[in-house]
Symmetry: C2
Subunit: 606 residues, 2 copies
């Protein structure tokens, strides 16, 4: 009892919103979806309001996905009211909209109690709850994942409902359309809820969105229907933010014996005027002030690699009419605003969430004389691994790919890690992977790459603070490393944004070990400078590699293999081949033993 009182008092002090009498009165009674089913119509409405308050509580303080969750409150309540989760199984696409689901499945404390925030990831997560089936953070996967659940159910003669929830924005991804196509051939229960809020992160792109508009305007009656064309049954509900309408809709389709698309219209950001008006800005938010909408964390007084990329784009677009900027629905990866996109006009092409086609379009455009610059986050370009290999690199077309969040020190959710980029892309023939160490080098590499006509190039945007160092203008001499400081005994190959760590290490060696090591900026992550490497054999006995990513398949391993049969010792520093999740970046470096102190200690023992 005293525990209970203490906790209550703590809450009263900690959180002014909860001092309001009755705050979260209903939500606090929801331990499981069965509790939702007990509520009267009125209480369900109150629950919806409380859930929005709980969203505000978490998002104003720690940020997260805003618009998708505010729009899905009513539909999620109706889902849990009608279906029997976890026997009935929900799969939320990209899981940007899964917070209401989390609140109703035993995880409300992650929203109403500040001290519990860290318990819940921003995505569905089977480790948190039996109501989640997949850890999901990439788009367009829900239909195929759910189709797999359904297929296994059928093998077992199960009768549960399988429900995939997918936003309109995610439909443009190939995997989603493959999923629709597979569903169109299924012959058992399968429910695809298309949550149509008329927008992806930014505006939607692609022909199907004309059809979705037609379907909305005709209340689902248009003769031409993308979902029916995929062989699927179809039903439409205009007001996806009306709990009772959604309950009666889900009652209609529950236990259906064939696949059906439930197309619902919801309002992204519903319940917060600012978000309803500026949907793109409020897709995801930093901690913010609820009154004003102003972020509590301030960024960007200083320089940023993203801002200088945008400056480069505008300068280049003015002078080169063949310059073409392509993104698979991630203008935000560089912070390109809606106004800037309009200003770029035909020199900007957003292909929608469609990484595969984005790379193919870029390759085709380069082949026909354009100078394409493709950008997105590193974690998403993985989706085009085969297209980079086949459509682009076999054909050796001059496309420049600029990858944001290529660093361990960026997005730390397991589904969004940038640390696999070196492993994925430095082993594809013909692809030049450049790892710049400073603003000057980054911009020079960018200019060189966009202008040359010989190679597909990927440039890793540094994940650390903007640094300034002189840099070469021309990178045509492929796989040439730069010896920044010539020393002896130990050579440090410090790749890309780990160059500054290399400098720090060199300084520490000088101070603590009493000699001047050689410091090398490899620049080319995808190849060896055998002249430089061979030259080191003369007066060096140890090569240290530092890289921002997992070691397996990356840069350092190539160096180790090169020296394997020689007397040169090589020690690779980088991350382990692991799916790290929500880690502290500096703690992770300590964990893998790559602080300057740890490396110095290693050298001493070697």
């Amino acid at each position: 009892m005293s525990d209970f009182c203490d906790k209550d008092i703590e809450l009263l002090i900690d959180d002014h919103e909860r001092t309001m009498k009755g705050m979260y009165e209903i939500l606090k009674t929801i331990d499981a979806p069965s509790d939702v089913k007990k509520l009267s119509e009125d209480k369900l409405e109150i629950l919806a309001n409380e859930m929005r308050e709980a969203l505000f509580n978490r998002l104003t303080k720690i940020g997260g996905h805003f618009g998708p969750n505010f729009g899905m409150v009513e539909t999620t309540i109706a889902m849990h009211y009608v279906f029997e989760s976890p026997k009935d199984k929900f799969v939320f696409d990209v899981s940007h909209q899964s917070y209401p689901h989390k609140m109703l499945t035993g995880r409300r404390n992650g929203y109403i109690n500040d001290e519990n925030f860290a318990e819940d990831s921003g995505y569905t997560n089977p480790e948190e709850s039996e109501h989640d089936f997949f850890n999901v953070g990439h788009t367009s996967t829900s239909i195929a994942l759910a189709a797999g659940l359904a297929k296994a159910r059928d093998l077992k003669n199960g009768k549960e409902n399988i429900v995939a929830v997918i936003g309109d924005g995610s439909l443009s991804g190939g995997e989603a359309m493959e999923g629709l196509n597979i569903a169109g051939e299924m012959e058992s229960n399968f429910i695809i809820v298309v949550n149509d809020n008329e927008i992806a992160i930014a505006e939607n792109h692609g022909g199907i969105y004309k059809n979705l508009k037609e379907l909305r305007e005709t209340k689902g009656q248009a003769a031409n229907n993308i979902f029916k064309a995929y062989g699927l049954d179809y039903i439409y509900e205009e007001d996806g933010n009306d709990i009772q309408k959604m309950i009666s809709l889900f009652k209609k389709v529950k236990d259906i014996d064939h696949p059906i698309v439930v197309h619902i219209h919801t309002q992204k950001g519903k319940g917060y005027e600012l978000a309803e008006k500026n949907k793109e800005y409020w897709h995801w938010t930093m901690p913010f002030d609820r009154e004003t909408g102003v972020p509590k964390v301030s960024f960007g007084e200083g320089e940023s690699y993203l801002a200088m990329t945008v400056d480069y784009i505008f300068e280049k677009a003015k002078t080169d009419k063949d310059f073409l900027v392509i993104t698979p629905a991630m203008p935000g990866a560089l912070g390109l605003t809606a106004e800037q996109r309009i200003e770029l006009g035909h020199q900007y092409l957003d292909v929608g969430i469609a990484e595969e086609a984005a790379v193919a379009v870029a390759s085709g455009a380069a082949k026909n004389g354009a100078n394409p610059l493709l950008f997105t986050n590193m974690t998403f370009i993985q989706r085009a691994y085969d297209q980079i290999s086949q459509d682009l690199c076999i054909n050796n077309n001059p496309v420049t790919m600029v990858m944001n969040f290529s660093s361990f020190d960026g997005l730390t959710d397991v589904t969004h890690l940038g640390i696999f980029g070196l492993a994925a892309f430095t082993n594809i023939p013909n692809l030049i992977v450049l790892a710049p160490t400073s603003a000057e080098e980054y911009l020079n590499m960018l200019s060189w790459s966009v202008e040359q006509r010989e190679h597909p190039v990927m440039i890793l945007i540094p994940g650390n603070q903007v640094a300034h160092r002189e840099a070469d203008l021309n990178y045509s001499d492929i796989n040439t490393y730069k010896i920044e400081k010539k020393g002896e005994k130990t050579a440090i190959l410090a790749l890309g944004d780990f160059y500054q760590r290399g400098e720090e290490l060199a300084e520490a060696i000088r101070k603590e070990l009493g000699y001047e090591p050689t410091l090398i900026n490899p620049r080319f992550a995808s190849g060896l400078d055998t002249d430089v490497l061979e030259g080191l054999k003369k007066d060096h006995t140890l090569v240290i590699t530092l890289e921002d990513g997992i070691l397996e398949g990356g840069f350092g391993h190539k160096i180790s293999s090169y020296y394997g049969a020689s007397d040169m010792k090589v020690k690779n520093y980088g991350l382990n081949k692991e799916f790290y999740d929500r880690y502290d970046p500096e703690a992770l470096l300590r964990e893998v033993g790559m602080t300057t102190e740890q490396i110095i200690s290693d050298i001493k023992t070697m």
Copy 2:
């Protein structure tokens, strides 16, 4: 003049078919598409016959894609009659149907002269001709590649026609549907020829094929139309094998100012009764006897890894009702016949050409208690790199992926190489990549993997002749290498189907260098057995790694890095990071210095 006569005489002697008076009379006049335009209606018909004869000439002797090319003769003639290639640009999806195009663009000799066969690859190839824009061998890429050509044309205010040709089978691939979606938003000339011959390699799978059928049955008039749902204009032609109808159709759409789908119905294999009747068998052929259809090369009296996989599948399916076999449209990767697929019933799922969704479906099915075995060729599973990472491995679901043609000694076309598998998949966390060395080991690994519930597993089907060696039953102890012969000084880590080369090397060391080396079967390509590796330090000074794939990102590099800071010398043997094309396998091994003789010589100099 005398040259001309000599050549004529040579031809008469070399090729009995050409001794027929008038053989290839028209085709021999076609040096470029402009020559097609000069022909009368009658002559065009004769040309079509001659082209089929030329296809027979090549395919009976060296094999290749049969059905798609025989079906596209008339349409290709009409394309070149109406459009102005290469100003107008054609992109052939997967390019299985591009032989007629090659014949009409200066490459007829690759079909009518046996000595010229090797000049032409089986795919479109910009190195061969200015009429080809991409080297293409994976499906579903044409629309997006062509959209890129169109985008660049628009930036340059060009007016040429851009034409993508895609088969119905390829439409189920996500990249194709992403391409349709992008095309649906374009506002300039873009022509998508959908060559509907009612079949992929095997039967089509997916809901859209119901719509294609509806469209064929209504001669394109059905209200519900997948292409219109993508926002595209649409026109249908029932007889894609009628040159004149196709000419008038293409005249209608030439210079159109917006994107349009030209849906044509053709007969796969047209002109060869056996192929018209058994479309799946005749998609691709070995050299064959034209009279009987019987292959000239005989296979498979002996054992094969594919046949034993099929035997395993049937045995397992009988006793385990949760066992599920999944393929993305590649039943032929194991040689599963139509009858066998029917026999497997609900335990067999072909998702169509859709590698991404195949992996997601498998992950979902495993999550819900099924035991999925997914199979295809290594080159195609690259298309699901992100799904293997995100949908499968982050979620750590027990899916078994069996990869055919994972070896350098299999498919040698640049677009179909299996040599990148180790680089792509041994660096993804949680994924166990197993490299068996014998039939017993392969089957034991397969059984173990399908039955365990802990890991996603990829098994590389050996590319060499079936070998027999005893093998463990259980592989739960992850990353345990097997010391097959304990020796001294040199340890050979011979991975997977290179194990037998390791045995040969061990024997040569014994004979030529006079000591017994240690021979190790690593089994696990994706991880290190640090106990074994550490143990080798006692009485070994050299570790040799042998692997069937490129070195970069693969197995040997991991070993080199492990030993980098120690006194152990390591030499990695494998292929270079290169897009090899149509190579001689044994010559390639010599080129990279990995014959037993070359390795012995290396050891001597070390």
